[in-house]
Symmetry: C2
Subunit: 211 residues, 2 copies
DNA sequence: TCCACTTGCTTTGTATACACTGATGGCAGG
DNA sequence: CCTGCCATCAGTGTATACAAAGCAAGTGGA
């Protein structure tokens, strides 16, 4: 792996995991020393982070980690709704019924995943990511997939804003199951509507439990 | 202006204007000589172009200008539809009626702009860009605006695929006027529907007149 | 005491040298 | 004649040195 990739991956993880909180100054020399690479790959990593919107150059002080307020979350979910609703519609029109039937079954049984003591909820988030991937694949649109991918970076970061309790996640799993079923049935209108409902619930969950 | 900005602006313009056609190899040393800067700012410019999707790194050969086929155009318009329909809805809910009334009047009279001999149709495209900017402003969503901005780069590039005759542009202007009116009236459903119609027509225009 | 100028330092922006990787062409062996 | 290996090389990846710009602090004068 290239040094610039390593620097990028490290910094990106540090930002989305809130180890580097918003406002942190990302100085090139300091980072190059801490990461054990020279300034050149660090610069490349910072440029990529700036392009993604995780960091932003500030006059004179170098680049800093971008803020993420509740207003940002609302804006983020507005974009998310536009993209995911359309993606769900297109997946319903083009997707393979068997694939989404299987995902529906898994999601319907996801309550079990959340009873055992997995503090990071890894198994649930992995399943949700599989549904996202299946939708992306069914849609078969590289530009839409790219837009969703760059959006999800920010969503992972937002996730750390709120504490997710098991009851909420079970509710979310049921909503995901509804979406998967609508896609399996080839019903675009329902898929879009279910996505709208899910995102609205998710946003309110987030806003009510964040500090 | 920084050397890297200059290199980026030059290369980006060269790509969207088709002076650098798809498949062109963007070698760092050759570009640094041609643009009169060193390899470092050229690398930065190439990284930005790759992030935008105008170029893509290819194993061994460096980065090349990305292809743009009719299938890509269809995918692009799918994403465009998702973003612009939602943007039109939100603008209808939040926008200032007077602003869009004025734009509607200008667009309704845009037929006159297209009768005089402006071969590049600059005045019309400038007006359409003003409508886009007004919508972005009314929506007030930085993430949605960013997504639309990165989309429009590709759309400008696609525009060169087809030859735009005055009759088509007058038709497009009427469609734009309809959208502006719906937003001015605060009618989100109509704004979204008019956008859908406009984009469908635009896509078919493009596909039928391209070589 | 306050304002302005200067000086020095910190930090980024650019250039260049070197190392390493992947591709390509030729040559030898089968 | 075909195939596989090796050498060469083009080109990127990284490091470091140097230049320029911005900011802050300190000092001098009013």
């Amino acid at each position: 792996m290239r040094a610039s990739d390593k620097a990028y991956a490290t910094l990106r993880a540090d930002i989305v995991e809130w180890r580097l909180p918003p406002g942190t100054v990302l100085a090139e020399v300091e980072l190059s020393e801490r990461l054990g690479v020279s300034r050149t790959p660090v610069r490349e990593a910072l440029a990529r982070l700036s392009a993604e919107g995780l960091a932003a150059p500030q006059s004179g002080r170098g680049v800093v980690v971008t803020e993420i307020s509740l207003d940002h979350v609302r804006e983020l979910f507005e974009l998310r709704s536009a993209l995911e609703c359309r993606a769900a519609e297109l997946a319903a029109e083009r997707g393979d019924a068997a694939t989404f039937c299987a995902l529906h079954a898994e999601l319907a049984a996801a309550g079990d995943l959340l009873t055992d003591d997995d503090p990071s909820r890894h198994s649930y988030y992995e399943l949700a990511a599989r549904l996202d991937a299946a939708i992306d694949d069914a849609v078969g649109n590289a530009y839409l997939a790219q837009a969703l991918k760059s959006l999800r970076v920010h969503l992972v970061r937002v996730r750390r804003l709120s504490k997710d309790n098991p009851a909420r996640l079970r509710e979310a799993a049921r909503e995901h199951a509804t979406i998967a079923l609508a896609i399996a049935n080839g019903n675009a209108a329902v898929a879009s509507a279910a996505t709208t409902v899910h995102l609205d619930n998710s946003l309110h969950r987030l806003l009510s439990t964040s500090h």
